[in-house]
């Protein structure tokens, strides 16, 4: 599974502070730490309250790229900020994200085609997050059809079925798992799938445990990627083990270490 390291996000106080003071040290430390622990991409998010999202995004992309060659996942609802970031990315990036809504899809898919970027498409629209898997799959299909119309290779599209905190939307859990399975039947090749893993445990007491159990359950349903805490060792070990049990990697005694180095 592709791990998109979630830590460079203005929602975290240390990153918000670093952006404000333009102090690259904290950002770069997190970039390196996540890479060393096996992240395949690094999520870059300036945070919800940023007064200057475009400039902040440019700065985060630049300072992150100074210390790592990992591809970046540009995370913002402000598409101008994403585009400014895409212009600076040394490797093809991922856009995080677009809902199944016009004209947002037009804006994002056109941009993805221009910069050769991958896209995370959210299975939601103006009406919000669907309750069941059927409606989620229908929205996923809209994303697939629109991406295809813009010439985006379908395996560059990551559908996020949207996970809710298990203490709030407990009934969403099985619907998300069902959605993950059904998305693989939408096209050939099928789109990839991604979840924002930490959402599932938001507001709970056993966050790491819930995250890693859900990760392996979702992997068994075909999940390709997760925006997650790459520095959570037990999560990374669980993911490496799930890859062995799903026959995705050939077993050897050092399989956990091998997985953590698969990003190099």
């Amino acid at each position: 599974m592709i791990i998109i390291g979630e830590r460079i996000n203005g929602m975290f106080r240390d990153i918000a502070q670093a952006i404000k003071e333009r102090n690259p040290k904290v950002v770069q430390e997190w970039a390196k730490k996540q890479e060393e622990n096996g992240a395949h991409y690094l999520d870059i998010n300036v945070g919800p309250g940023s007064p200057e999202p475009v400039e902040a995004m440019k700065w985060l992309v630049e300072v992150t790229q100074e210390v790592t060659d990992l591809p970046l996942c540009l995370d913002s609802t402000k598409y101008d900020a994403i585009e400014a970031g895409l212009k600076l990315c040394k490797r093809p990036a991922m856009i995080n994200s677009v809902p199944a809504e016009m004209p947002k899809m037009e804006r994002v898919f056109a941009m993805a085609a221009e910069y050769g970027a991958e896209v995370i498409g959210l299975a939601m629209n103006e009406e919000g997050i669907p309750k069941d898997s059927e409606r989620r799959v229908a929205l996923a299909m809209e994303l697939v059809a629109t991406a295809d119309a813009f010439g985006i290779p379908i395996d560059s599209l990551y559908i996020d079925p949207l996970v809710l905190p298990c203490n709030v939307g407990q009934d969403h859990g099985p619907e998300v798992l069902k959605t993950l399975q059904q998305i693989k039947l939408l096209s050939d090749p099928p789109p990839k799938t991604v979840v924002g893993l930490s959402n599932v445990s938001q507001g709970t007491k056993r966050r790491e445990l819930i995250n890693r159990v859900f990760a392996v359950m979702a992997m068994a349903c075909g999940l390709d990627a997760a925006i997650a805490d790459a520095c959570d060792d037990e999560l990374m070990e669980a993911v490496a083990t799930a890859r062995i049990l799903l026959n995705m990697d050939i077993y050897c005694d050092s399989y956990v270490e091998v997985f953590k180095q698969s990003n190099r």
């Binding site: 990697d249 050939i250 077993y251 050897c252 005694d253 050092s254 270490e257 091998v258």
Partner: protein, 325 residues
């Protein structure tokens, strides 16, 4: 509407290993040989580039082999006691792409030759032929660990392929290969997990050696479990093509050594009249075993019988014909 035939897409390819070094590269070989580099399953040229031909090595010993079938006498009998002449004959007369020197005489139960004697033999063989060399110890770990550093030093600059590293005994040979820049054979007992783990262990000692590993998956002769080794090789190659770097190495197999231990290759016609003439039966057994392993992705076939070599090289010519469309 034109029919579009489905083609498998592979995410990665097998690494290449260069054997030997010319004068400009610090050695004395007349040329180098590159193995590996496949970007598709064996000979599916239409799905990916099969960059380098599989090659055939002939096996020689540093002492007259007492247990080889008498049919080898007429090919090698006159040179059994002269490894340099033996090597030369393999290359000049029997078309070996490279020569594998097995330092059998170092075996404490045979001649117990010293590492220095073995190094001297290696030097003579290097002088006699221009092809890249593969060098194996006697097969007894304790003695081989004394041989490796001396052999590696004697062959410094020649970019040898040295064998063999095993899971329980890989440090001495890995150090020798690191110190004198040779390639290394990593041997696992028909076990994909150990195969991968051993490569990781070698890589942990030296990341530079990762691109110098040749996998010996351990093979069996036709009729003696060939399907086990075949499926291990198939899994390793599929893993390599799917991006498993710790399995993305070329493969070598001791075809001759295995085949010429079988009853089918050795029993005289008088004992089994229905089986046909012994020598022909033997080399056909060897050639058949070899071509099966070509289909499993073997890059270096170590063989013994000149007639089998002829047949196998002909088969390689045919398999290397581009069949892309």
């Amino acid at each position: 509407m034109a029919l579009e035939i489905y083609k498998e897409k592979y995410r990665s390819k097998v690494g290449e290993v260069v054997l030997g070094a010319t004068k400009e590269q610090g050695g004395t070989r007349s040329h180098t040989i590159t193995v590996g580099g496949e970007a598709a399953l064996p000979f599916l040229h239409f799905e990916g580039e099969i960059k380098n031909r599989p090659v055939v090595a002939l096996e020689i010993w540093d002492m007259a082999p007492e247990d080889w079938n008498p049919c080898f006498q007429k090919y090698y009998g006159d040179v059994y006691n002269d490894p340099a002449a033996w090597a030369k004959k393999c290359v000049d007369e029997y078309g070996a792409d490279l020569v594998l020197l097995r330092l059998k005489s170092a075996d404490p139960d045979l001649k117990d030759s010293s590492p220095e004697d073995c190094a001297a033999t290696l030097k003579k063989v290097l002088e006699a032929v221009g092809v890249p060399l593969i060098v194996l110890g006697c097969g007894k770990a304790e003695k081989d660990n004394l041989l490796y550093p001396v052999i590696a030093e004697a062959g410094a600059g020649e970019n040898l392929l040295l064998g063999v590293a095993e899971q329980d005994n890989y440090k001495a040979i890995t150090s020798a290969c690191m110190a004198h820049k040779h390639n290394i054979i990593a041997q696992s007992p028909i076990d994909i997990n150990i195969c991968k783990q051993l490569n990781i262990l070698i890589a942990e000692m030296s990341t530079a050696l990762v691109d110098r590993i040749v996998i010996d998956p351990t093979i069996a002769a036709l009729g003696y479990g060939i399907e086990y080794s075949y499926s291990i090789m198939e899994r390793a190659r599929n893993g390599a093509l799917q991006g498993d770097k710790m399995l993305a190495m070329p493969m070598i197999g001791n075809v001759g050594h295995e085949v010429w231990r079988t009853k089918e290759a050795n029993i005289p016609a008088e004992e089994e009249p229905g089986w046909g003439e012994q020598e022909e039966r033997g080399y056909l057994w060897e050639a058949t075993t070899a071509v099966a392993y070509l289909q499993a992705g073997m890059d270096i076939l170590v063989m013994r019988h000149p007639e089998a070599v002829k047949l196998v090289k002909q088969n390689i010519d045919e398999l290397m014909q581009d069949n892309s469309y």
